[in-house]
Symmetry: D2
Subunit: 375 residues, 4 copies
């Protein structure tokens, strides 16, 4: 017997479709299987510091599976160890609020905390267990799918659908107007969304941070397509994509001001394509549309399975673990092994090879070979 009777649950960091589905599954599994009480902490770790919490019952789970966002709210002040404190004189300083966390954890009578969040939230949880002795179970959340310990995270498939739908729409306009259409998607560090959406949307060019690009092979691809009677192209750019060699690669004015100031990487790429290639380019930055809204079925299922397994780990006293998806099974991995390492796209991986095989250019190719490829 684990003796666990009351568990807390919180959501931290940015939005991801499926957060509510995890909360629902935790509450339901705790009710139906483990017969233990669930306390929802609102506003992420800030809710533990400032003691904002309420019991979650079956009635709270009604309609939750399909709903985007998180009913618990979240907070950007994710770290109780460095917490903003406003002094009586109005000045703000950073304090260690972890004693308040410890005290409130006990005040709420909790036996364990399920933390649903990204690398920051999970790292914080791990430290809390290590330093404060608060038993934790983690549920990984990253819309970018860049957590190393798990194959996929919930929310990613929904972001992929939004990005792919956008590409499908841009496709027909590109075709009718003989244009280059450029779509900037999320992925500051890891290019998973760009890679998957590019494959699903039939992008001619995919630019990601892991594969520094040059403009020449991109223009070569456009020319090759043009010769084959396809005078239009689709380009997907991860927001973290960067040219090989850095700023100096871009011409004149861009080099002076730095491409990062030009409205992001997609604006810089668009200008290069227009100036050097003479193509008409239209850009769209998808932004937060990718991380909101009702989760697609695959994400609802993954989130539900994660919630059920997190509840089981908590209820059976298996603390310091994080749930993860591997070979279609939800498994538990130690939090210490899971945090602090980003899962980046390996340029030599099977997915990138598959994208190249269907003709997608990443910008690191030999321009001449690209130009000849369409035959």
């Amino acid at each position: 017997m684990s003796g666990v009777r009351r568990i807390g649950v919180l959501t931290g960091g940015g939005d991801a479709p499926g957060l509510n589905a995890v909360i629902r599954a935790v509450v339901k599994a705790c009710k139906y299987i483990h017969h233990i009480t669930v306390i929802g902490i609102t506003g992420g770790y800030a809710g533990l510091v400032e003691l904002r919490a309420r019991e979650l019952t079956l009635d709270d789970t009604s309609g939750l599976l399909v709903r985007g966002g998180t009913i618990l709210g979240t907070s950007n002040r994710a770290n109780p160890f460095r917490y903003p404190y406003v002094r009586p004189d109005g000045a703000e300083e950073m304090i260690d609020a972890s004693p308040a966390v410890k005290k409130n954890f006990e005040k709420l009578g909790l036996d364990c905390l399920i933390a649903i969040g990204g690398d920051g939230t999970l790292a914080c949880s791990e430290r809390m267990q290590r330093e404060l002795g608060i038993p934790v179970v983690g549920v990984p959340k990253t819309i970018d799918n860049d957590l190393s310990a798990t194959e996929y995270t919930f929310g990613f498939a929904t972001a992929l659908e939004v990005a792919t739908n956008a590409l499908d729409r841009l496709h027909t306009t590109a075709e009718s107007h003989h244009r280059v259409m450029l779509l900037e998607v999320m992925g500051r560090e890891a290019g998973w969304i760009a890679l998957h959406a590019g494959m699903a949307g039939g992008a001619d060019v995919i630019l990601i941070r892991e594969i520094p690009f040059r403009i020449e092979p991109i223009l070569a691809k456009f020319r090759a397509r043009e010769r084959r009677g396809r005078p239009f192209s689709l380009v997907v750019v991860a927001e973290g994509a960067a040219p090989a060699g850095g700023d100096q690669v871009f011409a004149s004015e861009d080099a002076l001001t730095g491409w990062k100031r030009l409205g992001g990487i997609s604006a810089a790429v668009a200008r290069q394509i227009e100036e050097l290639g003479g193509y008409e380019v239209r850009s769209t930055i998808l932004g937060h549309i990718q991380r909101g809204g009702s989760p697609v079925p695959v994400d609802r299922i993954l989130a539900s399975r994660c919630g059920v397994e997190a509840a089981r780990l908590a209820a059976t006293g298996q603390f310091g673990q994080m749930v993860a998806l591997r070979a279609d099974q939800i498994v538990a991995v130690p939090l210490v092994d899971a945090i602090g390492k980003l899962k980046l796209v390996d340029p030599g991986c099977q997915m990138v090879a598959a994208a190249r095989a269907v003709g997608t250019v990443f910008g690191d190719e030999d321009p001449e070979a690209v130009e000849e490829s369409e035959g």
Copy 2:
């Protein structure tokens, strides 16, 4: 008997979902009902100048109803009366290419031309009939729904769906993060997309060109919602929206550089909300996603009905007319009456009143009244 045996069809101007559905309906109606031949002219009026055309048969209509874009292609060089000509020495000058149009029209053996396009394309068609004696029938196309002679144009409902889906997704993120989410949609002159999407997506604020806005009532709405426990808001901004009084309304740096240079109106509004209201704002510019992709059912039907009626007008010799939707019937209106007047949002119209009635702020309200409105 009209004696019409061969009609040409072309698409001009920007993309709009439903163009292919019109083409399909023209071809089918000409085949099944009127037993006349349809010649598709590619690249808009450029195709008439440069004689690029082919016969369209039933086989060409396969799969066309659901497909975005236009199989005929389009062209930004819409005006044969001022047509770009590249001289042997490489310099470009504008010439009157209408004699080529007249000659090619006769070479193709056409009895009539169905022109599917926006105000520019239709004005050009009207002039062609008047000056060159080319019999034309028009089909109005404007994603912005700003053509005066018709209640709705195909493509508008699809753009509305894309914009509304985006708002639905932004809604949950706004709610989870206590943010202001801002969505910029199309509408340089007329704010129809912003108005309709704002109503369909439950926007708290709608900014359109027809109603110059001030920041104060907008911030008042945010504060009123906050007091009612809704510390998040949704703002839809038409790309043509502008502040009352012009640039000087915006503070400091913006006033110097001009808000139009700040990445568009939505960036300027976002900055004002952040600086003056202290809110966290996230912006998305939907861009070309709104005008591509498969048309929604309502647009497929409207486009098909327009195509059928245009074919009937052409086949029965009723030239110089444009098809239009009025009270759920497709009617014919003289081209001369239809062109040159934009249909703008009347600030006193029923739709705007309805939006205000459900609490939407347009930025021209009394801030104090707004602040008290949520009670």
Copy 3:
């Protein structure tokens, strides 16, 4: 001054996407514009008989715009004038419960009742005003779009989208397998959904109650398509469709048992196509999927506008009216003029003519002409 201070609102009859959007608009308009109280009556008229009601506030409208169904619930026992009563001995009898309605209307302190419902609910409301002196305002609701006084009713566009999506999916399977795919949609009396979905989904055959069909022209269409290299077809059948001449038209066993017992009209049509035409047929009955779920943007707007206008009529004492859509304006029409007459598809109307012009067969054509039509 109308002196209206409290209005009740109820939803009656079958589900339709947009009911919640109407409720939301009523509550918001009453709050923001008219400053009057809204009482929600649950379970339709049964809620007035059995006094189940609660005040609706702005907080109740949160998330309501996008939500299918009705938070007020509905009831199949729509008629208080003939209301089921269970006697102490367990037997059920029909009684006149209108005195209870009158009493509870006064007990709740209501000045007016907004009834959102179909022909039955509206007829009942009109009688209530006439016989009991209860002031009513009606909002028409019919997924079938068969109410005579209004061009379109909310929910119809959503049903159309569901039916069209289904046709789009069936299309590719039909094409790959050389089959006839048959889709049965709602429309017991009026064939509007079948007609619109058939046009939007490119159906080859549309069967509706208003145009009795024979099998021969249908098979002729299949053969004509086959000869043109299209050995597959899509058929949309309204649930109320019926053969010309009645049962005896169907062969052998069907004639004996009656086609209505064979799992509905689509099963009977499928069998005829298989037996007489030798085609492989697959059928789907869409059923209740058509009337549930989140409303499409067009329906959300229409429902909101109806709610706002109903609130205005109620607040300004314009009783006995129903809101209606005409030429893109919401207008008021007397309830007595609106009820009791179904709006059926006129076989000679422009929409049917347009469908025929794009090659759709309704089953009343000359088989030989159909066979020659594809040329």
Copy 4:
């Protein structure tokens, strides 16, 4: 060097979203990477028997990624070893057409055949390699996801989306009307679609062939929900679901006629729920809508990766293999190991346990325990 210069590709068996994406990837990979020719065989194995084939080029891949169905067509006469032959006297007999296959394979100058199909098509391919010496590579296709050698097959995620969307729509109607809504989905042998859609759509009851059900625990679930103020429920039924103990479990008339004759299992279950539980039930049979239409992004990616890997196996002479998905990698498994064994839902598996943990009833539970579960 494998010496492979020309490969054939065919699609066999039922439709599944993603078939065209596989064909596209095969053609593109063969062009861009392997520089070999692809011959498309139309109508499945019938196309090899009757020699219907054409070369596939890059131009044929245009627009193919998003398109449902298969441009190669398919055939229900999947087995050349038992092929229907119409004798001169009109009688049909089964003959061994494999010599024709062998001859035509050589006539087309093929070095290898890529067969995309279900268990039947793959078994046939394996036999062809073994008995006729035709080198084959297999790509598994099953909408039901019941192939043992691979974690997921393309098309399954799309079917899941269609079924989940239907459940989402039924949900709101069930709630508004206090009804039991029943959805029958595909899955004659394996209940994967029902299990996944049930989890994604929040079904209260999931019935699959692998877990024989009784009515009592189902009614107990309904009652428990009713007591908790949820007088409505969602039931997903796989078409192959069957009661524990067989027909005799069903009452009176059903037992006499056999439940399978009552319009399928869902009709029988609906009747039992109505008669024994007194609930109002509405049923929908999704049918072929689940297997048509544009594939969701996840399926497009999986199909593309399968096609690329199949082309690689073919080009490098690795015959007798089938591509499969394992732990997010596409791997090759021997055809002989992959065919003939269905992957059924293990009642003790993690997914079923997760579904039970969120309160889903499968019909094999103790009714009393179910009744107490909602507390």
